[in-house]
Amino acid sequence: MDVGFYVLGFLAIASAMLAISLKSLVRAVMALALFFLSIGGLYINMSCEFLGFVQILIYVGGVIVLFLFVIMTSGNIEPGKSNWILRLFGLLSSLLLFLALVWASKPFTFTRLKRFSGIKEIGNLLMTQYLIQFEVVSLLLLVVLIGSIMLLKKE
């Protein structure tokens, strides 16, 4: 019985539901922050410590603050009223997807790796096997940086 998993998993589901249903944008973003924290906690719980801390550092420190900054500059606007057709469609499709996922996931029989793969192994992989992907991701970040500056630049 993994207590950490059940507590954090419940927290993640509850905060995700809050995040998509709250009317006030700032409160929704705060619920999202709680969601990111609990996902980080789940990563740490499954002994991917590095991933957990990076998750908290980037999502909570970067993404959430960015969201808050944009909401502050554009106002805490009431979200548009969504009609019931959209809601019904959303509910149906997500339920269908959930059923499909449950149906598709067979109980699998892999054995858990004995040794935890630490930060050293991740660093080695990033610098050898996944070097090109790593470079492409850094290029992507540069493109986003320049792109968002170009978008928001006033003439």
Partner: protein, 95 residues
Amino acid sequence: MNYLLLSAIIFCIGLYGALSRKNGIMVLISIEIMLNAAGLNLAYFSLFYNPSGQIFALFAIVTSAACVGCGLAIFLLAFREKEKIDLDNFNLLKG
């Protein structure tokens, strides 16, 4: 197995949010929730195969940060033009 179920539930919550909300920022929030669910799955499978799963989760984190940066810039631009971030207003290409 529990982790997979959890990630499926979270992904479906995110999908529902993305389909039913109209405000651009709310849709972005839902997309973030879905990306995190996928990351959880990747990290969980890394416990069974090899650490590559964690690296893909890392890439997912970076990509979604880039996605948020770009998306929020677009929404800020839309707010300047139209005074609100409602996705129904983005119909300039309709003709």
